[in-house]
């Protein structure tokens, strides 16, 4: 028997947290930790070694971005599935750039949620149409913002743009694969690449900023 997937649930609402944990346990996941605070999540991540972290973006102590940075520093391979309400677009985008692997609306149905956790654990990028719209918008914003010649903004290929637009219009990966006569895996890769480039750009920018500010000398 393969080892069960280890999941940590981070949400500040106890009822929600235990509900999610129960659903996950029933579906065969190993819920290794639940917590309502971002700092604690980061602290115990190293000891509990989850494969997937289900993270509510709105926590009382630190921002979702800080939690994700902390988690990835402690466990470079951890995959973070963010949950949040609608209407928090900027924080969702920031969290994705900080390294979240996927995003799901909190209002998603339980089976959608379990499918998203499974997808995240399997290394897929779980996108909502809303997230695709945010990512598309971010690439267009980067393209429209003038930058020095040596630091080219990341850009989407035509195919990636096409795929992302279809995701934003609510098509499933399967439907997109049919429409564009691609394999499901290829669609997956295109979607994942759009996130990967954004995260890489974000890391490069952060490093550049750190060097400019002399933070690397500390």
């Amino acid at each position: 028997m393969t080892e069960r997937i280890r999941v940590m649930v981070v949400d500040d609402h106890p009822m929600w947290r235990s509900g999610v944990a129960r659903d996950l346990a029933e579906a065969g996941y190993d819920v290794v930790a639940t917590t309502g605070e971002g700092r604690q999540a980061v602290r115990i991540a190293g000891a509990t070694r989850p494969d997937v972290v289900v993270l509510d973006l709105q926590l009382p102590d630190i921002s979702g971005v800080e939690v994700i940075r902390g988690l990835r520093a402690a466990l470079p391979d951890v995959r973070v599935l963010m949950l949040s309400a609608s209407g928090e677009q900027q924080s969702v985008l920031d969290a994705v750039k900080a390294g979240a692997a996927g995003y799901l609306l909190k209002s998603a149905a339980p089976d959608e949620f379990l499918a998203a956790v499974a997808g995240t654990a399997a290394g897929e990028a779980v996108f909502t149409p809303g997230l695709a719209g945010l990512v598309l918008g971010e690439y267009r914003r980067l393209a429209a913002t003038p930058e020095p010649a040596d630091r080219a903004a990341p850009a989407l290929t035509d195919r990636e743009t096409e795929v992302l637009r279809l995701v934003a219009k609510g098509l499933s990966y399967k439907q997109i694969a049919e429409r564009l006569t691609l394999s499901h895996r290829t669609v997956q890769n295109h979607v994942q690449n759009t996130l990967g480039k954004l995260q890489l750009h974000n890391r490069v920018e952060l490093t550049r900023y750190a060097i400019e500010q002399g933070l690397d000398q500390l």
Binding site: D12, H13, M15, W16, G19, Q58, P60, A85, S86, G87, Q89, Q90, V92, L93, K106, S107, A109, P110, T128, P129, G130, L131, A132, G133, L134, L136, G137, E138, R140, R141, A143, A144, R165, A168, K169, G170
Partner: protein, 379 residues
């Protein structure tokens, strides 16, 4: 009698005006005393100038002290101010004498006489200021054997000062009211944010949980869960914090379209604002509304609708796609030919007015997609 001057809403912006009057009182007193010293040899009764001067000095100090407190700035003080000034002016008849006055010897309260006019203007605006200017001017003119240019000029200057200061006072009152309003708005906004946080942390979590746990139940329980979900979505929209800022004269199309989001309508838009001229945003949002109505009517009860807002360099594209039953090929054109496809016409009409284009594609079983593109016009 007119009602006593209304106290200013708070002393904030009027305070400096009152302090300026105090400065004026002392400066004009110094000037008046210098003139008296220079002209006293022409006076009919030079010794008579002494009590007048003492009254002027005394009243300057007393008035400065009395006016310092907002609640003392009522009718008694204002009337006393004009009365003392008029008395000083009228005393010229005795002290200086009509012969000297007729020769053009200046009065004893030159410039100093304007202080009550300014006080009345600040206390009650232009009308009271002009009234005071006329009263003081009348006293000044009364002591002259005949009307001369100096006293007419003096009265005119006082009238102008009264109008000017009265106007400034009114502006200050308006500015203060606006400031007050801004402070209140700010407080209301903070309160709203606090409420939003509280609601997010409590009610919303419970509603989401009810919806989640009940989603798999049948019958009434499932219905309750669905209703909880609807309320959750509505409440979230209600407490959503303000839209990103947009340049003046523009409206964020993203925010307008996001307002349509619901259980069955998913909206994808950039995180940053999509500013378009207010009219354009409104028209595009109305076209989106028409497309959503159409989807709700024709796509079938189980259909979901996806709206995508894209901010491209030269244009803005909004796509409304449903995953419903779709329109059979040819039916759209046929309906349009018969002139009864209200929805398509309403959408095409609005978008064409903005110089944009509409593409509709649909196939049975694959839903309907309406893509609207409007050019960005540089503002």
């Amino acid at each position: 009698m007119t009602p006593p001057p209304r106290p200013a809403p708070s002393v904030g912006l009027q305070g400096p005006l009152w302090r300026a009057i105090v400065v004026f009182r002392f400066a004009s007193l110094a000037f008046a005393l210098a003139l008296i010293a220079g002209n006293v040899r022409y006076y009919a009764r030079p010794l008579g100038a002494i009590p007048v001067v003492l009254v002027m000095i005394g009243w300057t100090v007393a008035a400065s002290w009395l006016y310092a407190r907002p609640r003392r700035r009522g009718w008694p003080l204002l009337i006393a101010d004009v009365a003392v000034t008029a008395a000083v002016l009228l005393s010229a008849q005795l002290v200086i004498g009509s012969a000297a006055l007729a020769r053009g010897t200046p009065g004893m309260a030159v410039a100093w006489l304007a202080a009550p006019v300014l006080a009345w203007a600040v206390a009650g605006g232009r009308r009271l200021g002009v009234t005071a200017a006329l009263l003081v001017g009348l006293a000044d003119v009364a002591v002259r054997p005949r009307l001369n240019q100096a006293s007419v000029t003096g009265t005119t200057l006082m009238l102008l000062a009264a109008v000017g200061v009265g106007h400034v006072t009114r502006l200050a009152a308006i500015a203060e009211a606006r400031l007050q309003r801004a402070v209140e708005l700010e407080a209301a906004n903070r309160e709203r944010e606090r409420l939003a946080r509280d609601i997010h942390d409590s009610v919303l979590q419970v509603l989401a949980l009810v919806r989640r746990r009940g989603a798999s139940l049948d019958g009434e329980a499932g219905e309750l869960a669905r209703l909880a979900g609807e309320q959750e979505a509505a409440l979230r929209r209600l407490i959503a914090t303000g839209a990103p800022p947009t340049p003046s004269g523009t409206v964020d199309l993203g925010a307008l379209v996001t307002a349509y989001a619901s259980d069955v309508v998913s909206v994808a838009a950039p995180a940053t604002a999509v500013p378009l001229p207010a009219e354009t945003s409104t028209q595009v949002a109305a076209a989106v509304g028409a497309a959503l109505d159409n989807a709700a009517r024709h796509a079938g009860p189980a259909a979901r609708v996806f709206v995508l807002v894209e901010d491209e360099p030269g244009a803005v594209t909004v796509t409304v796609r449903d995953d419903g039953t779709g329109i059979p090929a040819g039916r759209l054109e046929a309906a349009e030919g018969e002139g009864r496809l209200g929805v398509a016409q309403a959408i095409r009409g609005r978008i064409a007015d903005l110089g944009g284009t509409v593409r509709i594609h649909s196939a049975p079983g694959q839903g309907t997609e309406i893509e609207m593109t409007v050019p960005k016009v540089s503002l």
